[in-house]
């Protein structure tokens, strides 16, 4: 008897879900699956939600499993398109069966976030300090390299607990790309990729995992996308850019970093803007891309995706600033609009 009741309850819940998902409309639901970066997850989840309100028959299901996951699942064909902070280099592109187009969506910044009990000021990090810490050469908070840049701040005599990503991450790519540019040692020993052989540190899964770890571990230092540090109310440091100024990651400094990018992007839309020239440019930022196959056989999905991309580049950009992402420069949007026609 209780068994029968249980079975009845389950069946009714399942039929309810079927009803809910059809929502009494004439058209059937288009479900589009995407996987990829955690870096832009806050803005993407906002976009997909707003877009769903505008077009209730379209559900875009985004799972933030990391840029590496987005790339891999796109290659395996298990998702409709992917999201990655790391653009695919030519060698990687050649392993795909279809041509892949890169559509930059927003600009984001990666910041060094830390948990230092007793220190309230924003710490200043030089490129050499960051490289040294992540190479394992600088191990104490009150090391000379840090103390020199932060005169006046009482740095504790504690070991730095380094935190990095344990999954394949575009945020990692941006971070290691920057470190490779500023530290020849890093470039030869570790290199830049979505997943690297870290000399030191704990691994957290996703931007969420890293910010969670930093939040819970005193004396730790990690790198996360700006919005994660803001939402978690974690202090983050200012970084010295190529002009020698210590710059805080803000919408303006991120936009400044992308200032010169549009010209290069006309040739190849995959451009690295880490350590960008410019007095007020924040040195660790990046475009983040949606990886769209140039050929989409399902016409409904193709049109939906094209419509979404168009919306994203126009109305969608309105939502970026509230979540601390910098919108795309107009010149970049123009390039992308032209690329939109390439999706067949």
């Amino acid at each position: 008897m209780p068994l029968a009741v249980l079975v009845l309850v389950c069946l009714s819940m399942i039929s309810c879900s079927h009803n809910a998902s059809n929502e009494g409309q004439a058209g059937h639901i288009t479900l589009i699956n995407i996987a990829g970066a955690t870096f832009p997850y806050p803005i993407y989840s906002k976009w997909f939600d707003v877009y769903h309100q505008l077009h209730p028959t379209i559900e875009i299901n985004y799972q933030s499993i990391g840029s590496g996951g987005g790339i891999e699942q796109l290659r395996a064909g298990t998702v409709d398109f992917g999201a990655s902070d790391m653009p695919l280099n030519d060698q990687l592109l050649s392993t795909f069966k279809v041509k892949i187009l890169h559509f930059p969506t927003v600009l984001g910044a990666v910041v060094p976030t830390y948990n230092l009990p007793g220190v309230t000021e924003a710490l200043k990090f030089t490129p050499q300090a960051l490289a040294g810490i992540y190479l394992g050469k600088i191990t104490q908070w009150n090391d000379e390299a840090l103390a020199r840049a932060n005169a006046g701040v009482k740095l504790p005599d504690q070991k730095i607990i380094v935190v990095h990503r344990s999954d394949g991450s575009g945020t990692t790519f941006v971070w290691t790309d920057y470190l490779s540019k500023v530290s020849p040692d890093w470039k030869t020993q570790v290199g830049s990729n979505t997943a690297v052989n870290w000399p030191v540190g704990l691994g957290g899964k996703g931007n969420e995992g890293v910010s969670g770890l930093v939040e819970q571990t005193p004396y730790s230092l990690g790198y996360v996308e700006l919005i994660y540090a803001l939402q978690n109310r974690l202090p983050y440091g200012v970084v010295c850019n190529s002009s020698g100024k210590f710059i805080k990651a803000t919408l303006d400094s991120v936009t400044a970093a992308a200032a010169g990018a549009a010209e290069q992007m006309a040739n190849d839309i995959r451009v690295s803007i880490t350590n960008a020239p410019g007095r007020d440019a924040y040195p660790i930022c990046s475009f983040t891309y949606l990886l769209i196959p140039a050929q989409i056989p399902d016409t409904v999905k193709r049109d939906t995706i094209k419509d979404f991309l168009h919306w994203m580049m126009t109305d969608g950009q309105k939502y970026t600033e509230a979540l601390s992402y910098a919108p795309l420069p107009k010149a970049v949007v123009d390039i992308e609009m032209k690329q939109l026609a390439e999706i067949q």
């Binding site: 209780p2 068994l3 389950c10 819940m13 399942i14 309810c16 879900s17 079927h18 809910a20 998902s21 059809n22 639901i29 479900l31 699956n33 996987a35 997850y41 806050p42 989840s45 906002k46 997909f48 939600d49 559900e59 299901n61 985004y62 799972q63 395996a76 064909g77 298990t78 998702v79 957290g204 899964k205 996703g206 931007n207 969420e208 995992g209 910010s211 969670g212 939040e215 994660y228 939402q231 978690n232 979540l323």
Partner: protein, 283 residues
């Protein structure tokens, strides 16, 4: 002589205390854990949690209605695929088994039971997800189904063997063929036990997360049909628990509470049904 006796008595009392302490520590740690989860989970449980879809990152509110139903759908697929296989194999081992085949089946059932759940996920990924081209509720359900086969086999065989041989012999004496006897006498006699074994196996796989990670994936929306990615309670708990958003972590507790409540209900129910069965037999 008296000294030796005294020493042995002391040891006796000491070991009684030590083992009692072991039991106490074990039980109290476990009870505290359950209580903590219940308290935290109940605190964050709300009607909106049970009925709403997930909200975008950072926004307060939203729920896991799709994950609750998703888990239900996955279990349905698992039951449909795994239970018949397990039942039939259990019947084979208990009633019909030949020597070599029985050994083979038992050995591989044990082997299958020992497969780590993450390896099961890899297996279903290679044979279902890749050929299908995408993640699906079907793949997730199959992974869970294969995992529950060994449990069902073992409990079916056990309960069938527990039926006194005299019942079957009585049927045979009346002229029934063996299969008729098994089907109409032995299986009904063992039915309660087998049914609870099936329910317990479902409760066990309901909490599995690892095999679902790359088979059913996850979904922020309702998942119609069986060939789309689908949300499930364990995966949502995992995703939300390691996130930095407070409202998500609270939802993880609530989801943990729901999952645990369902699993425990089934287990307690099974316990009651089985003990009632024995008391009926005794009385």
């Amino acid at each position: 002589m008296r000294y030796r006796a005294g020493w042995r008595k002391t040891v006796n009392m000491l070991m009684l205390c030590v083992t009692g302490l072991c039991a106490l520590v074990t039980v109290s740690v476990l009870v505290l854990i359950l209580a903590y989860l219940a308290a935290k989970g109940w605190h964050y449980l709300s009607w909106s949690f049970l009925t709403q879809l997930p909200k975008p990152v950072g926004e307060v509110g939203g729920g896991m209605a799709n994950a609750i139903v998703g888990s239900g759908k996955l279990l349905l697929v698992a039951a449909v695929t795994g239970v018949p296989v397990g039942l039939m194999a259990g019947i084979y081992l208990a009633e019909f088994g030949g020597k070599t085949f029985s050994f083979l089946v038992r050995y591989t059932t044990d082997l299958l039971n020992g497969v780590p759940s993450i390896v099961m996920g890899i297996f279903i990924y290679t044979i279902v997800v890749l050929p299908m081209g995408h993640f699906s509720a079907l793949a997730g359900g199959l992974a869970l189904g294969v995992m529950l086969i060994p449990i069902v086999v073992r409990s079916t065989e056990e309960f069938l063997r527990a039926v006194p041989g005299t019942l079957l012999e009585g049927a045979l004496a009346l002229g029934a063929s063996r299969w008729r006897g098994v089907a109409t006498v032995v299986i009904p006699a063992a039915f309660r036990g087998i049914a609870t074994g099936v329910l317990l196996s479902l409760a066990r796989v309901a909490g599995e997360t690892a095999p679902l990670l790359f088979t059913s994936f996850s979904n922020r929306y309702w998942s119609p049909g069986w060939s789309q990615p689908i949300a499930s309670l364990p995966v949502m708990i995992y995703t939300y628990a390691i996130s930095p958003y407070r409202s998500w972590r609270q939802q993880a507790w609530a989801a943990g509470f729901v999952l645990l409540a369902l699993v425990l209900l089934v287990n307690i129910g099974a316990h009651i049904i089985l003990s009632r069965r024995y008391s009926i037999q005794r009385g």
